[in-house]
């Protein structure tokens, strides 16, 4: 019972503290980072207190302390999974998929024929369920990370394609006319005017794809994989009721996903510094 009351007391105190900090955030910018940190810590403490206080079985929900201990104790395993799933599967799929999508978007932009023919096909591919594609990709590309990368390519292709196509249409007729008066070629107009103008759109697609890539790589591992990888770990540990390990894997995936998204957002800020949404 002491755990439950303790958690409750901590929660009340932390909310009061956060409210006070938030009021002062305007004066001390550093507090803008402290407030979410306090919130996160509160969440963990309340989780720990409730799980211990109510005696929840660790096979239903392990306390964060157990997850943390497992995380620290299994670093080599988790690192191996991270390399397999994130660096090999998700990242290579992401680069190939996004690269292809941008290239195809430019091709579509040049040709009315492709516009009519390829966009609907892209739409169709995007609607394919991952549970349907994954086993087929395992058949085609083997059970190692290559098939996971292929699933990721299929998943990230469409959002990036649609956003890039929309972005390439973002310039105004007046701007294009100006380029024409300079007698700029298609390639020059593309490089100097239209691609830069399309960047906010392309980055939108890239950010959506960033989260999709990790999900795709993990889920694809459910359908055949070598004995490493985040998706493998989750399916293997569920049979042993190693819930602490599953949560540790989830924590790694969440951290990796957030960091990936953050990195793309940072690049976006550097590339589209001129865009109104990036100005403070």
């Amino acid at each position: 019972m002491i755990w439950l009351w303790g958690a409750l007391a901590f929660w009340v105190a932390a909310v009061a503290l956060n409210a006070a900090l938030a009021r002062r955030a305007a004066r001390y910018p550093v507090l803008r980072l402290v407030v979410p940190a306090v919130f996160g810590v509160t969440l963990l403490v309340v989780w720990e207190g409730v799980v211990r206080g109510l005696g929840v079985s660790p096979v239903i929900l392990p306390p964060p302390s157990a997850v943390g201990a497992r995380l620290v104790g299994s670093l080599p395993v988790l690192w191996g999974d991270f390399v397999q799933t994130f660096l090999k599967g998700a990242l290579s799929g992401y680069v190939i998929g996004c690269g292809a999508a941008v290239a195809v978007a430019i091709a579509i932009d040049r040709s009315v024929f492709l516009q009519r023919g390829l966009l609907p096909v892209g739409n169709f591919v995007a609607a394919l369920p991952i549970v349907g594609i994954a086993p087929i990709m395992v058949m085609w590309f083997g059970f190692d990370w290559h098939s996971k990368a292929a699933v990721v390519v299929v998943m990230v292709f469409f959002p990036v394609l649609v956003n890039t196509v929309a972005g390439l249409k973002a310039t105004e007729a007046m701007q294009r006319d100006l380029m024409a008066t300079y007698s700029a070629s298609y390639g020059q107009t593309l490089r100097k005017l239209r691609l830069p103008a399309a960047m906010p759109f392309i980055f939108n697609g890239l950010k959506i794809a960033a989260t999709l890539a990790l999900i795709g790589a993990i889920v694809a591992e459910f359908f055949g994989s070598p004995t490493r990888g985040m998706g493998f770990r989750i399916t293997a540990e569920i049979g042993k009721l190693g819930l602490d390990m599953i949560w540790a894997t989830i924590a790694v995936a969440a951290l990796a996903g957030s960091a990936f998204y953050g990195a793309i957002a940072l690049i976006e800020r550097a590339v589209t510094f001129w865009h109104p949404s990036q100005r403070n």
Partner: protein, 327 residues
């Protein structure tokens, strides 16, 4: 004492006459198929009803871990394999085997003859398909008893986490895949390979078989006389269903088909499966054979660097239910 309590309860039921049926929820280990025919037959033939039970049968699937379902209170009794049940017990989920309708293991490794494998000694350097999620223990055990490493190092075997199909074998991505005598083996045959193309190693023949498809309940609930009495009646009716299914496999297969809500199963497949299942349930009256249990525990303890369980479990099985149910 237990007999007295049960006896008193029985009298109480008889005295009150038309009592509302007791609810029992059974979680299966896999999707609706002839592997669980006994339970469906018992339900269809009214054996449960006759025992005053209202049984709900929940089908499982690749994303359902029976241990997790019972831990969350979603079922009273689950069908599971002993390795996963004992591993869960060591993790603090006190599961108890109350009955063991399956005497033999249906698990085997099916290999392509062209891969050059004729004996288990030829596994070294090959890729083998294994199911995970609790089904990998007998395999890991077997490999450690053969002295083969499974971590991908030199001289060992490469393990492929296989989906619940036989594609890796058909595409020659693996030299061998895991199959059940009653299910995936026939998928290989249906895919166009003949038994002559294949070499099979039954876990049973290799001496590494572990107990499959037992009935497990939570230990703390078992000490409740009312619950124990429900389980006695449940096991009695279920075993009646199993023996009925064994005797009339075709009829049992049709009952299973009637209960398959997904409509994914076919008549030919289920009849064949029921024929194979009958071989596995033959020789079991439902009571757990202690020698089989001991063998399973020894196998699980001897897991090399990564044993499934680290110490011999205490109280992981009980004859209390079957003693009453089968008298």
């Amino acid at each position: 004492m237990k007999k007295l309590v049960t006896g008193a309860l029985m009298t109480a039921f008889a005295a009150t006459g038309a009592q509302a049926a007791d609810d029992v929820t059974l979680q299966l280990k896999w999707v609706t198929q002839a592997q669980f025919a006994g339970y469906y037959v018992a339900a269809a033939k009214g054996f449960y009803e006759a025992e005053g039970l209202n049984v709900t049968i929940l089908p499982g699937g690749p994303d359902v871990a029976p241990t997790q379902v019972i831990a969350g209170g979603g079922a009273d009794v689950v069908v599971d394999w002993m390795p996963s049940a004992l591993a869960a017990r060591e993790k603090g989920l006190a599961l108890v085997n109350i009955a063991q309708p399956f005497k033999s293991s249906g698990m085997m490794l099916t290999c392509l003859k062209e891969s050059g494998i004729t004996t288990p000694a030829d596994f070294a350097g090959k890729t083998l398909g294994v199911w995970f999620g609790g089904n990998e223990y007998p395999f890991l055990n077997w490999m450690s008893s053969l002295g083969l490493k499974t971590d991908g190092s030199e001289g060992g075997v490469t393990v492929l986490k296989q989906g619940f199909n036989v594609d890796p074998l058909l595409q020659k991505q693996a030299a061998c895949v895991s199959t059940m005598t009653y299910n995936e083996y026939w998928q290989v045959i249906d895919a166009g390979l003949t038994p002559d193309d294949l070499v099979t190693f039954k876990y049973e023949d290799q001496g590494v078989a572990t107990l499959e498809d037992g009935l497990y309940v939570m230990e703390d609930k078992l000490s409740d006389p009312a619950f124990a009495d429900k389980m006695v009646r449940f096991v009695r009716a279920s075993m009646k269903g199993w023996k009925e299914a064994e005797a009339n496999p075709d009829e049992a297969a049709m009952i299973v088909l009637d209960n398959d809500e997904t409509g994914a199963q076919t008549e030919a497949h289920q009849k064949r499966m029921m024929g194979e299942i009958a071989k596995l349930t033959a020789g079991s009256n439902g009571a757990l054979d202690e020698a089989d249990y001991q063998r399973t525990v020894e196998k699980l303890l001897a897991g090399g660097s990564d044993p499934v369980i680290s110490k011999a479990p205490e109280g992981a099985w009980s004859h209390a239910i079957t003693d009453l149910a089968l008298k």
